[in-house]
Each structure stands twice: as C-alpha cells, then as structure tokens.
Assembly symmetry: C2
Homo-oligomer: 487 residues x 2
C-alpha cells in the first residue's frame, strides 16, 4: 500500500477493466458484471477473466489477469472468497491500480475463515501498489465513465455518493434520481480493507464535476481525517450529507456484522457532527431529499417561509411542521395582505394570512394560485415559498383529477421568474384517479428543476438543514471567521 | 339548543335528507350534494330545496324545507352565507334534528359580517331543538348510511374520524383506505358553532360499530370534557388518535382564521396528552398509519422486535429507527441463531443476528425469506416481527422486478399462521419497473390484513405508540389501577 492519494480518474474513470470471475455461461454473464458494463455503455477495454472460457459475450476471455497483453487499470474480483487472495496477488503483479472485491464472506461474518481471508487480503494490499475497494461491496457507479454495478440511471449529475452499503446505494441513487438529483459518481466500499470513506472523500473534494457529497458510513478508520476532510469540503462550498449508521444500541452492534466496521464512539461522532459542518440525515431517502433541498435553494440564506396552498387544515399542519424544523412562518404586513386581497384568492374558500389558503377563485384555480405567488414573492418579509397541493382535492372540487396538473403546470410556467425559491410539497396520489398524474408531475418538476417533496416533514427538515448549511458556509468564508481562526 | 346528547343515528344515519340550495342546473347538482348522495347509494328520502326549480335530478324539488310534507331528519345548507340564518330558522321550525351548514365565510374570516352572521346562527341554535354541524365544513361521511361529502370509498370499517378540517378529512380517509384502514363514520365540523368534537366523541364511544376514533382538532370549547371522554374511550378499549393542530407559533395564530377556533393553551393540551391516553400524531397521514398499527398488532403487548429483511445497510437503519422510537431489537439467543443457521439464510449474503439479513439462498429467495420468519416467530425472545423489502433490489439481484412480489406473496401465505404479529415495510417502487408492482402489493397486503408501511419511520413510530396504548389500556383495566383510583 502506497498511502498515495487515489484520484477520481483511477476509481471512477478507468480506461480498462478486467472482470475476474466472469461466467463462462453467456446467459448468466449478460446479467452480471461484463453484461452490465456493456449495457451501460462502458467504452474502455473490457477483459473477462476465466480459465474455463475463451470468449465471454463476444469478448476474448483470459485465463488470468496476468495473461492480458495490455495494461489493466481496474479489476473487478467476483470469485469464491477462497480464491480472492490469489486473484488480488495477480492484480498486484499486473500493476492494476484499483481492484474492487465484490465477494463477501470476510470479516463481516462471524467465521474465523472469513476473518483470516480478510487479513490475508490486507497483507497483500500492504505489499502492493494496487488499491482495493471492498471486499463485500458493489464497487463503482459513474455514468460518465460508463461504469456501474447495476442497471442504474445513465443520466449523470454533480452529486457524489460514498456508501458503505451496496443495496442501499442503489436505492439511494434511484430515489434521488426520481427527485431530480443525479449522481455523477458513487462507490459502495463495504469492509474497507484498504480504501475508506476518507480516501474517496479526499478525491471527490478535488473533483470539479462534484458539487455535493453524500456519505453512508458504518465505521471509519481515521475519524480525525474524516472530520478535517468534511470541514475542507464544506469550506469550499461542497456540502457533505452524512448518514452515520449504527450510532446506538442494537444498530451499533449490528454494524460490525455487516461490514466488519467498528461503529466508533458516540462522542467521536457527536464531535464530527458538531464541528465538521456535515449535514446529518438518518435514512437513505433523506440523502436524496437533502441534496434536492441544497440544489433547489440557490442563493437563499433566510428561513422565513411563505406557505401557499389549498386546504386550510393542511396549511396549518404545514406551518406547524415548518416551525418544528426551525423555519419561520412570519405574519404578512398589511401591504402584502392588501396585494393578496387584490388577487382572486380574496374569495370564498380563501384565507389571507400566512399560511395562505387559496380558493378556487372566479378566474379559475390556476390563476388564483399563481396570483398568490406573485403577491408574496416580491415581499422582503420572506425568503422562500413553500407550496402544498392535495392531489385528492379534486374529489371535493369539481371532480376532475387533472386539476392538480393544471396548478402544477401553471407553477412550472412561472417559478423561475419569481424572485424567491419555491418548494413544492405534492404527496402521492392515493386515489387511483390521481396516482399516475402525481407520478408524472413529480417527473416533470424534477426535469424542470422545481424541488418537489412528497410530504411536509421531508420538505421542512431538508430545507431547514440546507439553509443552515449555507449560512454556516458563508460564515466560514467571512472575514469574521478568519479573524476568529487567527486568534 | 337542548344540550341533549346527540346520537350516532341522528348524525350519521338519517332516514331523510333535505339539500337546501340544490342547484336548478342538473349538470351542476349531479356533481354536488344531491348527485353525490345518489351516487353514493343513499337510500333514505332525499329532498332538493330551491325555490327556482320544481325538479332536481329527477327528484321533486321544494321551495323551502317547510314545504316538504314528510318529516325531515337532516338538512344540508349550501346557500350564500347571508341566506343561512333564514334557512336554519326554517329547519328549526320543520323540526329537523341535525342541520349541516356547508357554507363558509363566517367567524373564520376577519370580516365583521362573517362574525355577525355566525353569532346570528348561534342565537337560532340556542332557541331551537335543531343541532348544527358547521358552518364552514363538509359534514358527514357514513358508507353504511349512504351519506358522503365527496366521492369517497364505499367500503366501510370500524374506524371513526372527527375532523375540524374538510379537505384534510377526505385525504385522511382515502390514504387510510389504501392502507387497509376503513372508516365507518367521519364528520368534518368546521367552526363548531354548536356541535363540537366532544359531542361526536360522546356519541361514537357508545357506537358498537366503532372500534377506534381519530380526532383532528384545532380548538375545543370544553377541554375538560374532551379529556374525560377520551379517558372513557381509552378505558373501554377504543383508542383515540389525536392530531391537535396549531400547538405553537404561527400555526396557533393560523387556527383562528381557519375555523374561528381558539387554539387553547399549551398547558391544557399538554395535560390532555399526558392524562387522557390519547395517542398524539402530527400529520393526516399519521392518523391512518396509527390506526393501521393499532388494528394490526392484535394481542401484542411487548416491544421486542425481530427485524428480518434484505439489504444489510437498510437493516441497520431500520434497527436504529426502531430504537429511536422506543422499540427494542434484542440479541438472539444461541438457540434462535442455530435455528436461523439451519434455514437457507445461512449462506453468502446472509447475516444471522438481529437484524437478520436474508440472503437469496439456494432454495430461492422466497423460501429463505419465509424460513427466517419461522425460525424466529416461536421464540419468546421477541414480541413482533418487522420485515423490510427493498423494491429496487431486483436491479441488483437477477433483474426480475417481480422478485418483490414473490417474497410478499410468500409472506401473505404464512403470516396469519405465525404466532407473532408481522409488520411489513415496503417503500414505493422508485424504478419504473417496480412502481406498479409495489402499488398492487400494498393493495394486496391491505386486503389480507398484513399491516404495510411505506417507510421505517412511520412503521416504528406507529407500532411503538400502539404498543404503549395497549399497555396503558391494560393497566387502566387492571385491579392495580382500580386500587390506585380508590386511594
């Protein structure tokens, strides 16, 4: 092990990949590593390795990695665990830069054999230039590089994910994608026998394509380095969203049997969250939601929310939840109220205050809705607008399930021109008539860049944390913070 | 106002209904009160009232309610606000038992005229035998009686909803329905000029069809009575799930402009939740989830959870969330572990501890999954089983999006025979291939009575509160509690 920093190119953009343990059965391999890479559009050189085959999916197959004539950047090792050390030694001999060990059954199991084999891998790593991802993990996803560990979205974006878990990483990427948050790079690194979250984080902080970073961590070898790197990332304006799993009780105990990691001390993690500027989250879904809030808030630095919606009870519930998460829902001035009163919201079924309840209005549902945004968006009493629509409201008002589409479409037409960021809460349609409509609207909002959340809690929680992150970042970069540092 | 207790029959099962303000335009009325009642299958006598029409939707139309020859039990008043007092006086003269004032624009507005009109309604109520629901509300839903305020599910169940908000009530009913929680009675009562939450609660406690009661309250006139009635309901084993809206800050201020209610003091509501046995919730969705947990736990009184699922990271996250909400995730004994080890879960990709990570197994995904339930369900180390499936896992394992159906179907075949209750967490399918599958599975679980939640948090929160409710109820009914009372 060189200790040399790894680069984004080495991990995520290899020019050549060997699949050690490619199946000799093309039908199987089509749905495994070689097939996945071909389907995903990997354009580098691809070398299946299996002593029992001469060709895999039309590619020449090699008996071992050392038999390949050209240099190999990256190897995927998908072999029974007892064969992994030998394959890794071959990779080292071949000069492979990064080897990903997919195989599980190592230190994460209670078995002595698993621990012994992981220690053997560790010894090979220490003697070689080859860096190892894993074992017991899914490895790397990078749409730009055509690299993936599953049938994941091909669209790439500026978020990066460093995840100790594998299945969770896939779900995180897919859910975030549906929200309009796209990952450019992701790595599932499992037992971290060599490369740890800190190594990937260090590389991604320097990556100009990466604008935000999410971490799912069960344990880390060098907590101090993680803290420092997170601070550095935050200072540079790249938020770090951290899900630390196994903070307490049985979850803590479960960590060691999942990736063999040590969960770390409570105090250590408290210090991490208190001092690093990391944004703490506690579910995989929250990762996507937090990244969505960060990318949707733009230059917003204040926490004063105007709430606009349909349905009086839901507006009050939204207000209460916003306040619980530290957002302010200020009273409107008489001036703003007068503006609202001039709009068509000033009719039966409307309530003119914050939260605003927008009635259908004589000019029609869409018009009254949009007029309410225009009436409050220019006010300096608020920093952002949270709007909520109830997809079931059609059942009460006129019977047309498309009414929610009309409102969302009207909002999509204007939200970019409003001087304040807009956050939409649109819960899943529960009535069969509204279900498909809502799914289509979520996709349309994601595409247009209108942040859409599925509930008040996820919206208020994520928005509040994003605002605090930006405030903290600004403070870190202010002359005042520098003076404090100098003291 | 008589002060006499109203009955479930008077409010929810009227033999005759007058719709005062039925439209003379049949196309309009078809989608309004008269049409809704006909579509919903109301089988009592139905009397449209409008001086400008002689017939509405094929029914004889009356110039006023006093012109109707037969007695009328129940009236819906859907007129411009200034006409409401006169219509209500007519109802009183006619001897109508319950009048529902749909019209809004009263004390919930800032206008003097609205307040004056509400005071006038109040005076009429005080002089008459007619009890009033509203104004500014949607009124009554009761599938058994064929009464509804919208195109809501016709299936009826044993839950009841008393809701100050209207749109929220519709969404609550529809969402709960999709979870397999069916309401037999619901009322939206708005400004509560006469009948308040306490009146409906008193009636529903005595209703043998009602097994659980949910309240959405903005304010209540007699807090002490609400506390006593809730205690009584809890003592009798009918849980009361309470969403008190507007507990703090701007939400509190917003309440008065929604239904004209006084939000009440913080201390008063703290005492209510501390002393009544009500289960507090904070969103409309939580109402359905809480009722689902209550109906799904059966005789379960302990909080020790076995967690079984696929995906190691998600299992740890589930564990952490269970613990956060006060559930215990105990270590398994060697005996239980040995049983698990005998199942096909004892293969690569499995982790044998609590949380259990179930690998695919040589006997196939379904078999290994079900075997794990059998291995732990008989153990007296646990009280219930929480299982989670990741609908996106097919992307990693074999590529068949139906794998999640196979697992759920296998579980549906056996869960009733297991000696411990099972709770399933099945998040929405985010990949297009799994979306429809998951929606269909939710419906199948709801139909079969397997409680299915869409996330770990909603499951752990609701289950934990349900267990505490049952423990508290048992204690209330124990000899020890009686002795304490006697002291």
């Amino acid at each position: 092990m060189t200790g040399k920093k790894i680069t984004v190119r080495e991990v995520f953009l290899p020019d050549s990949i060997a699949v050690i343990g490619a199946s000799s059965d093309d039908q199987k391999e089509k749905r495994s590593w070689t097939g996945n890479l071909m389907d995903f559009g990997y354009r580098g050189r691809l070398y299946p390795v299996n002593p029992k085959a001469t060709s895999v999916l039309g590619l020449k197959c090699y008996a071992s990695i050392t038999a390949i004539e050209e240099p190999v950047d990256y190897a995927i090792i998908a072999l029974p665990r007892e064969l992994v050390p030998m394959a890794l030694s071959d990779c080292a001999r071949k000069g492979v830069r990064v080897a990903h060990v997919f195989t599980s059954g190592f230190a994460e199991t209670a078995s002595e054999e698993g621990r012994r084999l992981q220690a053997e891998i560790r010894r090979i790593v220490e003697r070689s230039q080859t860096r190892v991802i894993g074992p017991n993990c899914l490895g790397v996803y990078c749409p730009e590089g055509g690299v993936t560990f599953a049938n994941l979205p091909k669209r790439h974006g500026s978020a990066a994910l460093i995840s100790q878990t594998g299945a969770g990483a896939a779900r995180t990427i897919i859910y975030a994608n549906s929200l309009g948050v796209h990952f450019g790079k992701a790595v599932s690194y499992g037992n971290a026998v060599d490369l740890d979250s800190t190594d990937f984080l260090e590389a991604l902080i320097d990556d100009p394509e990466t604008q935000s970073i999410a971490l799912y961590i069960e344990g880390v070898r060098d907590g101090q380095r993680l803290l420092q790197l997170t601070q550095e990332s935050v200072r540079r304006g790249k938020p770090v969203v951290t899900l630390k799993s196994g903070l307490s009780g049985a979850a803590r105990a479960a960590v060691s049997s999942h990736t063999g990691a040590l969960a770390g001390s409570d105090q250590g993690w408290q210090a991490y969250f208190a001092q690093s500027g990391a944004i703490p989250v506690s579910t995989l879904e929250e990762i996507g939601e937090q990244l969505l809030a960060l990318q949707g808030l733009g230059e917003c630095r204040g926490n004063r929310v105007a709430i606009i919606g349909r349905g009086g009870g839901p507006g009050i519930i939204a207000t209460e939840i916003c306040e619980r998460y530290g957002l302010a829902v200020p009273r409107f001035s008489d001036e703003t109220k007068a503006k609202l009163a001039q709009t068509t919201t000033a009719e039966a079924g409307s309530i003119i205050r914050n939260p605003v309840e927008v009635g259908i209005g004589r000019a029609g549902a869409q018009q009254s809705y949009i007029d309410a945004f225009r009436a409050v968006a220019n006010s300096d009493e608020i920093d952002l607008i949270l709007t909520h629509l109830n997809p079931e409201a059609f059942i009460l008002y006129g019977g047309n399930p498309a009414w929610v589409s009309h409102s969302v479409n009207a909002l999509l037409d204007v939200f970019r021109d409003l001087p304040k960021p807009v956050i939409l809460v649109l819960p899943p349609g529960e009535a069969p008539e509204s279900r498909e409509i809502v799914i289509e609207l979520w996709a349309r909002c994601a595409e247009a860049g209108l942040p859409v959340f599925r509930g008040y809690e996820s919206a208020a929680r994520s928005v509040s944390k994003a605002i605090r992150f930006y405030q903290y970042h600004d403070w870190l970069n202010s002359p005042l913070a520098e003076e404090t540092d100098a003291d």
